[in-house]
Amino acid sequence: MEQQTAPITAREILERVRQETERRKTAGIAPQSGAQSSGLAGISLRLPRRDQPGYGPENGRTLHINDLLQYHDREFVSAAYQFILQRYPDGAGSEHFLDRLRRGDLDRVEFIGRLRFSPEGRSRGVAVKGLLPRLMVVLPGKIPVLGYLVRWIIAWAKLPCLVRQMEQMETRAFLKEKALHRRMDQWAAQLETTAADTLSRQAFEPLWETLSGRVDQVTEMQQQTADELQQAGIGDMKRTLLDQQGRVARLLEQVRDRLPGPLSEKQVAAMAVEEDHLLDAVYAAFEDRFRGSREDIKDRQKIYLPYIEQAGAGTTTTPVLDLGCGRGEWLELLEETGKTAAGVDINHLFVTECRDRGLTVESRDLLAHLKDMAPDSMGAVSAFHLIEHLPLTTLVRMMDETMRVLKPGGIAIFETPNPENLIVGACSFYTDPTHKNPLPPDTAVYLMETRGFCDCEIIRLHPFENRPGDMVDTMPASLVHLLYGEQDYAVIGRKALV
């Protein structure tokens, strides 16, 4: 790609184009069909071909037998046919000769002689200089018995001549090699210029294509990202901003309070609590990403509605309390079905979001909240994906407090990931870095029972939806269940009526 650093004149561009055209011409590059849709110019490089039939004497000189003897094997037969008979060799005849030549029982000179003095050769009447003397020497050797002697004598007589010929051949071979090297160097140079010229297209053009393709991809991705941000990210950002705004406001309040006197213990505690909310935005975003869509969750939670109904919970006198209500899907579901419910969550952002949706939610530590509540006041207490976040002591306290605030006959529902599923237990449980320990269903039931809940039951929920079919088909059912069985469960306990 040529970059023009400064504006150049039309005349200069024309000049460049002229030079380029000239270069193309001298480099032997013919611009060819731009058949490629990229518009990339095709390049054709014409190199001389060595292996072309160009037999015989140059410049119309009379044919000398040596002109033919420089060839061997099939090439020799072909050359002899073309020059003496002035046609290409036919299949059978030439193969027969070739065979005999290869076996050594036909001398090349003799072959030329036979060809030349065949009826066809005679009719062509091509003069082959030096043929007759050579034949004179060769043919007597063909005479039986006597021929052997003749060949010996000839060989002796020819020795000095042979040595001379060998030297000549060596010289010629050397010269030929030299010429070849020169030729190759020329080609190399030619190739280099061509390469230099084509590099910009051949190498950079595809690169450029790819690059501009990439640019397009990036642009597209940017667009997508923008769209997604619009959908999800903006929400996160808004939340983060709101969170920070809220916290700054609260801190400012504390600071203002402090101005006349020293920091009270309460103020220090409040500031420390603010510190704990540092991760609120992070967790809120996390939840958005991994928990699933609002509609999906509400859909899944519908399964609990009969339990609530059965326990007579959700009336104004038997409200439902949702601990760690998060984005408030469950509360919303309850509201939609005409139940009275309230939530509590420590995350400011979730609380704000829930309140924006018109839900009743407190922003508090749930234990503190439970402790402040009157005993026997709730129809149901629920906690979805909460208990796995709590240290054991907190969990036990929470169960105790739940027991206390529930009305007799009230129901507690705690949903949590199911570590019976190996994938959940080994991996996906830890997707949420704030999870503490997986809680096996038995443990959950055990804890509930020891804290005084009765009629405890486990309902296992949410088996894997997208099982890899082909794999599942070949696995024992028990293994399938271990891998792709229910990923969550709920432990449900009740407060005894008496």
Binding site: P7, A10, T21
Partner: protein, 323 residues
């Protein structure tokens, strides 16, 4: 064109000969005489050869008689049609015009098959002679030589320098461009002095270059290296330049009244169709400079569009011979 047709006919195994009649535009008498002469000619046998088929391409040769005559209209006599100006026309010219229009209508109407080079010619034939015809596109010469390369900041316009081709539009547009784009206008012709004066007058000698005659090779390179091609003649018939630009994968800027190019250039897709107004043209030139990737895509779309039109000599020959 004619040579291309002859070559294509030969390629498909036919023996074809080209017959020209010397034509003198300036003399009204000569034109009338030639018309009459052609009308009396019969090409059923020529030099002892039996002629199977007569393809006629232009005025007034299309009057020559043959039992199997097909018209592929390249030229009518435009001074008698769209270029006819009743105000300035002499009496003789007015008479000639009537003669031509009458005779064209009469003779061409009876032909079993009438094709034209392009839709614009078909339109004219219909408008002035009420004859229906079908456009039959043919490729420009050496279509396989056109290629595309990284562009210089140059708009290319190869054509004969004459008023109808409106090189002056491009020159004037270059006075309005803000980008460092230049223009190379190639070709010779009667309009040269006027254009030179215009370039001087607008002080554009750096931005505009009147290249004069260029070789075919230079033409390919210029197309290949251009940012875009301007081709905004007034009511052009066919116009190879549009096709050559498309073959070179370059966007074409043409004008709403340019005729032929409008059959190929899709505004905003393979180039731009703008009012014949220098400022509008300048805007598009600047746009090409500012959006080189888009410009490149437009060029490629142009090449694609050309290929989709399936313009080739084989189908021309097939159509002309087997109607």
């Amino acid at each position: 064109m004619t040579a291309g047709l002859k070559h294509a006919l030969a390629e498909s195994g036919h023996h074809a000969e080209i017959v020209f009649f010397p034509f003198n535009f300036s003399s009204v008498d000569h034109i009338a005489q030639l018309m009459d002469y052609c009308s009396t000619q019969n090409f059923e046998t020529v030099n002892g050869y039996l002629v199977d088929k007569l393809l006629v391409l232009q005025f007034p040769v299309y009057y020559v008689n043959h039992p199997d005559k097909t018209l592929w209209l390249m030229h009518q006599h435009r001074p008698a049609y769209d270029l006819y100006d009743p105000v300035c026309a002499s009496k003789a010219l007015a008479a000639l015009r009537k003669k031509i229009v009458d005779q064209d209508t009469r003779e061409l109407k009876n032909l079993p098959a009438v094709y034209t080079m392009c839709r614009n010619i078909s339109h004219r034939l219909h408008r002035f002679n009420q004859i229906a015809s079908r456009p039959l596109y043919h490729p420009p010469a050496h279509e396989d030589r056109f290629y595309c390369d990284a562009p210089y900041d140059v708009i290319f316009f190869p054509s004969r320098l004459e008023t109808l081709k409106r090189q002056d539009l491009l020159v004037r547009a270059m006075a309005h461009t803000r980008s460092p784009v230049t223009a190379v206008i190639a070709g010779e012709g009667g309009g040269r002095q006027h254009l030179q004066a215009l370039v001087r007058q607008l002080n554009l000698s750096r931005k505009v270059c009147l290249a004069g005659h260029i070789t075919e090779e230079e033409k390919y390179t210029l197309y290949a290296r251009s940012l875009g091609v301007f081709f905004g003649p007034r009511d052009e018939d066919y116009g190879y330049i549009t096709l050559e630009a498309m073959l070179s994968s370059k966007p074409v800027i043409t004008c709403t009244d340019s005729g032929g190019p409008l059959e190929f250039v899709k505004d905003g897709e393979t180039g731009f169709v703008v009012e014949p107004d220098p400022e509008r043209i300048a805007q598009k030139i600047d746009w090409l400079h500012a959006n080189k990737n888009k410009a490149k895509e437009m060029g490629q779309a142009g090449r694609q569009a050309y290929q989709e039109k399936n313009i080739n000599w084989n189908s021309v020959v097939d159509t002309l011979l087997h109607r």
